[in-house]
């Protein structure tokens, strides 16, 4: 019976595959969608210049990448996790429970978060206070904490144009959201003096827990549709602004620089975002980008260390390299990072 033969051969193929699955010869990377373009640029150049195969880079978000990173050791776990934020203690713990103890943290550079609107619309100059007032769930009006009453930017601050408030911010699974909350909304909350009102309203046993609760309440965004969480990528944010010209979106600097024909960027606290203003620290909303390497995989997966070293080499991540050309703000302390990778220095420990 030919069908029986087919089935038998299928099973044979499947079992054969399962046994050969143990050999992997390319580096596997996953994680932040902000780091993805940089990692793929490096992976491509690595494949061209070395005899190793081109590494595989997947996206999915910083948290998802670190979760997969911490699943354990072995050839069917990833070697490198990209992250647009630093690894959390909780994640290090999960890693340790699964046997991933020696983690090398590599900072590749900085990324700016920019606020951009439709190219033909009004121009903006924002401050964190204005953003906090515009999209926080509750604000202080006449000394009392009330649900956000503002519908127009000029109600928030007469200096802003009369345009309906409509913002598109990254969803909570993105590492960008955390930076946005901390450096824009929370900073605005504290600067405006509203923080005291939150603190007075916060419940908690001691000062520390009250402060935590107040911070949490500060960064809670309004849910009446004036601020929309975007769980997809920046392309989705761009599409939203295309269809609603009043929209203001939160983007990565590199994304904006590729779409300057559709978007205009707003200044923040009087500084226009650019690689220069970010590397000098003038532009307030930026964050470091990282990748994490499993030390135990070095020497097992061919090309892993070479890839990590190549990633932070001067010709790649330096100020004239392809990464900074694409929008990464290069790290002034790149040589320290290079030393960390060369010595395989792990988190919180020795080499």
């Amino acid at each position: 019976m030919s069908i029986l033969k087919l089935t038998a051969s299928t099973l044979a193929v499947a079992s054969f595959c399962a046994t050969t699955a143990a050999a992997r010869d390319q580096v596997q990377v996953a994680g932040s969608s902000t780091v993805l373009p940089y990692a793929s640029i490096v992976a491509e150049a690595f494949g061209e210049n070395f005899d190793f195969p081109t590494p595989v880079v997947e996206s999915g978000g910083s948290s998802a990448g670190l979760k997969r990173f911490c699943e354990g050791l072995g050839e069917n776990t990833i070697d490198i996790a990209n992250a647009s934020r630093q690894i959390r203690d909780k994640e290090i713990q999960v890693c340790a429970e699964n046997g991933v103890t020696d983690i090398i943290e590599v900072r590749i550079g900085y990324d700016g978060i920019v606020f951009a609107s439709d190219i033909n619309g009004n121009s903006f100059e924002f401050t964190p206070v204005q953003w906090y007032r515009a999209i926080s769930r509750q604000v202080v009006v006449d000394g009392a904490l009330v649900d956000n009453p503002y519908t127009m930017w000029n109600e928030v601050d007469p200096a802003l144009p009369a345009q309906a408030i409509q913002t598109y911010v990254p969803g909570t699974k993105h590492g960008t959201r955390e930076v946005f909350e901390e450096k824009v909304i929370l900073a605005g909350c504290e600067e405006s003096g509203d923080f005291e009102a939150y603190l007075a309203a916060a419940k908690g046993e001691d000062d520390k827990s009250r402060k935590g609760a107040a911070e949490k309440a500060c960064i809670e965004l309004r849910t009446d549709g004036k601020s929309v969480d975007i769980d997809g990528d920046y392309t989705e944010t761009l599409a939203r602004i295309d269809s609603n010209k009043d929209g203001i979106g939160v983007f990565g600097l590199a994304f904006y620089e590729n779409n300057t024909d559709k978007l205009q960027v707003a200044a923040m606290s009087g500084v226009m975002p650019s690689t220069d203003s970010i590397s000098s620290g003038e532009y307030p909303v930026s964050r470091p980008l990282f990748f994490y390497v499993k030390k135990a995989h070095i020497g097992v997966i061919p090309g892993l260390k070479e890839f990590a070293e190549f990633f932070v080499a001067d010709e790649i991540a330096g100020p004239d390299g392809p990464l900074s050309e694409y929008g990464l703000v290069s790290d002034p302390e790149l040589s320290d990072t290079q030393a960390i990778v060369a010595d395989e220095k792990t988190l919180g420990g020795s080499s």
């Binding site: 299928t10 996953a30 992976a43 494949g47």
Partner: protein, 450 residues
Amino acid sequence: MTHATDPALPVSTENGSLLRQDARTRRRNAAETRFKLYGVIAISIGLLMLVTLVTTIVSNGSGAFRQSFVTLDVELLESKLDKTGDRDLEQIKKVSTFGYAPLINGAFETLAAEQGVETALSAKEMGEILSKDAAAQLRDYVLANPDRIGTTAEFTFLANSRVDGYMKGRVSRDSIQNDKNISVEQLDFVDQLVNLGLIEKKFNPAFILGADASDQRPEAAGFGVSMIGSLFMMLVVLVLSLPIGVAASIYLEEFAPKTWWTDVIEVNISNLAAVPSIVFGILGLAVFINTMHLPMSAPLVGGMVLTLMTLPTIIISTRAALKAVPPSIRDAALGIGASRMQSVFHHVLPLAAPGILTGTIIGLAQALGETAPLLLIGMVGFVASNAPDGIVAGLLDPNSAMPAQIYEWAKRADPAFYERAWGGIIILLVFLVAMNTIAVILRRRFERRW
């Protein structure tokens, strides 16, 4: 017409004429006309949608198949590429693609001087109109022909995506005002090269055959490797789902006793056909990758996940094909002494084969266009970068698939990727239409009706 001759009913010549319609008949006729009109409107809306869809896809995507190329004479300087001069391949390999960029910039400078092109651009700025892929292409050439070092060779390089967009009318001098990747002077330079015939748009086979490229060089990205990924996945789907599906349906249809137990199985198979495909993706992640430890991003796993999705379709269509074979065929076979199995395999199955194949092809076409389950098993990202060098590598090495590649391109920052996503859709649609056409032809040519 007993009615008309019934003397008890008053015969009215005014109302009863067949030539003149009464109000009720007119209403009924009008209702029928209206209904026909609704039908025509419904069909026209459908057709309009189809026409809009096809024209949008073709107008957005056809640009991806043509690309701007720059012809350039590059001097392969020995002083840069082989400092020792002994043509040792290991030494030549040490020069990375970054070491090749100055050669290209120098070539532009020579060109500008020789052809009398007036420009204020520096050599580096002139080099920027080329794709970043050019240096890699040059390096590959030198590594393949180390004996050509020291000579001058003519190359055809891809133009940068911005320049290509300018050639295609997507990028204009107005739209690049704030763009730091290209300047108006560079476009002026491009115009002069076009007049000299050194930049031209032509068919780009690398889009259909090549590998994916990183975010910095959309012009070099190709669909070929993800096509191979899809091919291997379809192979796995075919090899797994056809025998399993056909065996299951033959048993259920021909051998299994009709009990409540088989009824339950039947209902569940129909329900499985309606399960959203993302569910199979999660299942695949949990079972094949986390439990069975098969590699991530491998077409083998993708194929196995899609098999789960395709099986119900194949079982349902196979059972319908088996049911369509008249019982008299089975009775005749059994009557002359064939066993049940002989009657099935010698008589019923050959007659049902066209129906089974049709169902299989339609199931495969469905699986080919499926993206959702592939998201979960790691087939989206910068994955399709190496063409596999054998069957085992094809099954196990990370690869993408056609719909996953389209999804990936659509979400990248550079607008040039958007055009390639549409181009990918054209290729995918060609495959789907071809498969469905084969299914229709099989059905028309071989299916027997009783």
